[in-house]
């Protein structure tokens, strides 16, 4: 293949991170281009149309649908209060009137002389979008939101759960191969983003959620524990909206896998800094990876690698991570990219590469089973 694109996760010490902060439906943008914002600053606001109530007024009053307009007290667009009549019959000589009260506060939306139904819309729900990261508004998307730019450290994970949060980075293990167990979680971590090594136990995660740890960044986690956390087997990797107290970001995958040394060192060097974390993951159709953004505006002037490359081809010297058995999780560098297809133990004929691991050993692997560590 002339250009062997290999997907990879981005780990950048200093880079420009741009986040489009969009409303789900059109609304009002509060931020202006050039504004300096903190992560919790509201940049756009809108109102989600309220829930809808369908009431079969014709049937409640025992009338044919076409007679509905003659009994309606409220017109399309009128506000209504809960319990207030929306329709009433004339009765006999003003007596024995039947009424249909509104089941909720809201607005009359429409009525149908075909179905006899009246649609009431409950009050709208306000929705606000915050900046998520400390940075500068570099673009305004009229009616939709704003683009916030931050300068700093950016680490992509492979999988996560839980939504957007902020907190101070705190490394709680001695090395990237260490496990986070219950003993490493204490009350001082409340509101912080704890960085671990190769794995977090179920007990430790539970304790972190009880204490109110904002986020955990760790190499691996076990699938049965994810099942306990979500209360179900996760079928498709679309996450981010879980109602959990602590956002969890895995940098390597499922199982006990040491965090890549460079990632661990980078996060360690940022200890004490404020970071934004998001566990949202979507593997297909517009991929979204979980992430940690650590703004470092004070380093902006000295940064030479601020606009690092993104994606690309494998070449000898490329640093890779193995992402499938039998060397899953190991890091190494590419030494050769033979052109010919090779037969694996499974008898599959695939394109391969030769890799040298950190301990000096070498292996031949399918190109599909490695990912580049992008910087």
């Amino acid at each position: 293949m002339a250009h062997a694109y290999t997907p990879g996760l981005r780990v950048a010490a200093l880079t420009v991170v741009r986040k489009a902060r969009r409303l789900p439906i059109k609304g009002e943008v509060l931020a202006k281009k050039g504004d300096r914002v903190t992560a919790d600053a509201v940049v756009a606001r809108t109102h989600l149309p309220g829930a809808v109530q369908l009431i079969n007024v014709a049937s409640k009053l025992g009338l044919p649908p076409e007679d509905l307009p003659s009994v309606m007290v409220k017109k399309d667009g009128d506000p209504v209060k809960k319990g207030e009549p929306i329709a009433t019959t004339k009765g006999f000589f003003g007596l024995f009137k039947s009424q249909v009260p509104s089941p909720c506060d809201g607005t009359m939306e429409s009525l149908s002389t075909v179905t006899g139904q009246v649609i009431l819309r409950e009050p709208p729900t306000p929705i606000e979008v915050d900046a998520y990261v400390d940075g500068e508004v570099v673009d305004v998307l009229p009616g939709e939101g704003a683009v916030v730019e931050a300068f700093g450290t950016f680490v992509q994970g492979i999988f996560g759960v839980g939504g957007e949060r902020t907190g101070e980075i705190k490394v709680i293990v001695a090395g990237p191969g260490d496990v986070i167990d219950e003993g490493r979680i204490d009350a001082s971590l409340k509101g912080k983003i704890a960085v671990g090594g190769s794995h977090i136990t179920w007990g430790a995660l539970q304790k972190a959620m009880q204490i109110g740890v904002s986020g955990i960044v760790v190499g691996g986690f076990d699938d049965p524990d994810l099942r306990r956390l979500l209360g179900k087997d996760l079928g498709v990797a679309i996450t981010g909206s879980e109602d959990i107290a602590t956002t969890l970001v895995l940098t390597e995958g499922f199982g006990e896998i040491a965090m890549a040394g460079s990632t661990f060192e980078l996060l360690t060097s940022r200890e004490g800094r404020k970071a934004s974390i998001n566990g949202a993951t979507q593997i297909r159709a517009g991929v979204i990876r979980p992430e940690i953004v650590i703004p470092m505006p004070d380093d902006k002037a000295s940064a030479a690698d601020a606009v690092a490359g993104h994606g690309g081809g494998l070449e000898p010297g490329s640093v890779i991570r193995v992402i499938r058995e039998p060397h899953f999780g190991r890091l190494g560098s590419v030494t050769d990219l033979p052109n010919e297809l090779q037969v694996m133990e499974s008898e599959s004929k695939v394109r391969v590469l030769r890799v040298r691991f950190d301990d000096g050993s070498e292996a031949m692997l399918p190109r599909a089973n490695v990912e580049m560590i992008e910087r």
Binding site: R121, K232, V236, A237, E347
Partner: protein, 601 residues
Amino acid sequence: MGTLENIRAIVATDCGSTTTKAILIKLVDGEYRLIVRGEAPTTVEAPFEDVTRGVLNAIREVEELSGHTVLDGESIVHPNDGGDRGVDIYLSTSSAGGGLQMMVAGVVKSMTAESAERAALGAGAIVMDVLASNDGRLPHQQIERIRHLRPDMILLSGGIDGGTVTHVVELGQIISAADPRPRLGLGFKLPVIYAGNKDARPEVAKLLEQKTSLFQVENLRPVLERENLGPAREKIHDLFMEHVMAQAPGYDRLMEWTDAPIMPTPGAVGSIIETIAKRQNIEVVGVDIGGATTDVFSVFENTFNRTVSANLGMSYSVSNVLAETGVDNVMRWVPFRLPELEVRNRIKNKMIRPTTVPQTLEDLKVEQAIAREALRLAFEQHKSFAVSLKGVQQERTISDAFNQSASGGTLVNMMDLDLLVGSGGVLSHAPRRQQAAMMLIDGFMPEGVTRLAVDSIFMMPQLGVLAEVHEKAATEVFEKDCLIHLGTLVAPVGATQEGKSCLRIEGTLPGGRTIADDVPFGEMRVIPLAAGESASVKLTPSRGFDVGAGPGRVVEATLTGGVVGLMLDTRGRPFKLPSDEHQRVEKLVKWSRAFNAYPEI
């Protein structure tokens, strides 16, 4: 594109959810043949977010492997120069970006709503949900569902022409109240197709014209006894091209390159399966097991059915197979011990890194175990969907008096099935064809006498779209280069104790060899019979077993061979695996050895 007679070179691509495949077809000695195939990761996602990057990479691999020049920089060279430069036709199918995702609505769940579902599936869509007046949900729950799912389009049906308008207008009110937003494009109106009672058109227009992009077509069930799915399907295709594709990254450019509209992948494969059934006048089941979905196609009693099982697949959706079937059902096909934690973590790692391939034999076996369950689940869904029209009154004779079957029974009759065709990465790229045969047998459990075949290199989608513009080329390549005949399977229906008599096979093989074999219950065997060869055999099932003519009745047939051979499966139907782990593993190993499915390590 020149005239059909002058077509010398064709390139077709399929942009799958995981990989983009390209094939080069050329006219060689007066017939169309596959020359080479290329593959590259699909690039609909970040960092490229442009599907054409993956297409160019796959085509470049074709160029490198064939020496035929297709590209000049980043454009396709048209036309072919009579030699090794340029192509006359370029076509593409796509299921990248999640394919076409729809919601359908109809008045009665088992009638118009089901017809609407059939129309959407027939157009190659994933049906995210089916709304019906009688689906048991309250209106606000239906509204929430529409808002939450954000489909690419909605198909609204309901009522026969001249029938009641009230219920279909109620559904229109629900869609209108939901004020639905499309998945792609914030400032763009969601396409809604109305294909219901024609008398309700003005009311539906009043409700939906302002809030959605409304299109009205002929009723898809104008009378109770007849479906008219064509107009709705065509409109879905048009809107898929105009709205959904146009919004996906890079498709506007790809659409400019192709010589015919881009087809949804399931639509293209279905078209090929339907063609096989029509040409040979046989009953066919086809399956395409992909990364995100598994699509099943069948033609029984001249009725074509297609189901797209969203979220049953081997990469992005592999974890959903586990969630749907449970870890025990996956593990029952694994011929060695593996802790549950290990299985679960491996499957999740495949889900989050979907493009990896099994390097070890152990990993391959686990992956093929999951494939068996994905195939089985997708086929179960298909069987429950491929039914005759429901709600139709049937005239019954006195002989039917004791037959209580209602209308709407499944059309899928495994005993009548003539040909089972498998396609998709895990089947087409299995290192040994025997593995594909075993996955098909275990996933579908064919009964009686059934021919098995597999798509050689996973190119049925491209041939499906090619059949739309050049049927001769598509047919020639399909018959000569695409369809690999695995052989014929004989599987008696019935059950008895292990080792007891089940089937006797007698006959003459090519070259005068004879066979006379008694196969006890619980075995898998293979008799060598190459592709192109056939054998006249007499199949005598033991008492209580059926190979097609009824319990204990003899069947005399001419069976065709294939790359695997004549396959005998006396494991019984319904099939049961031993519950004891030791016995189960022993059996799985024995059956794989009989098929020579895996290398001995």
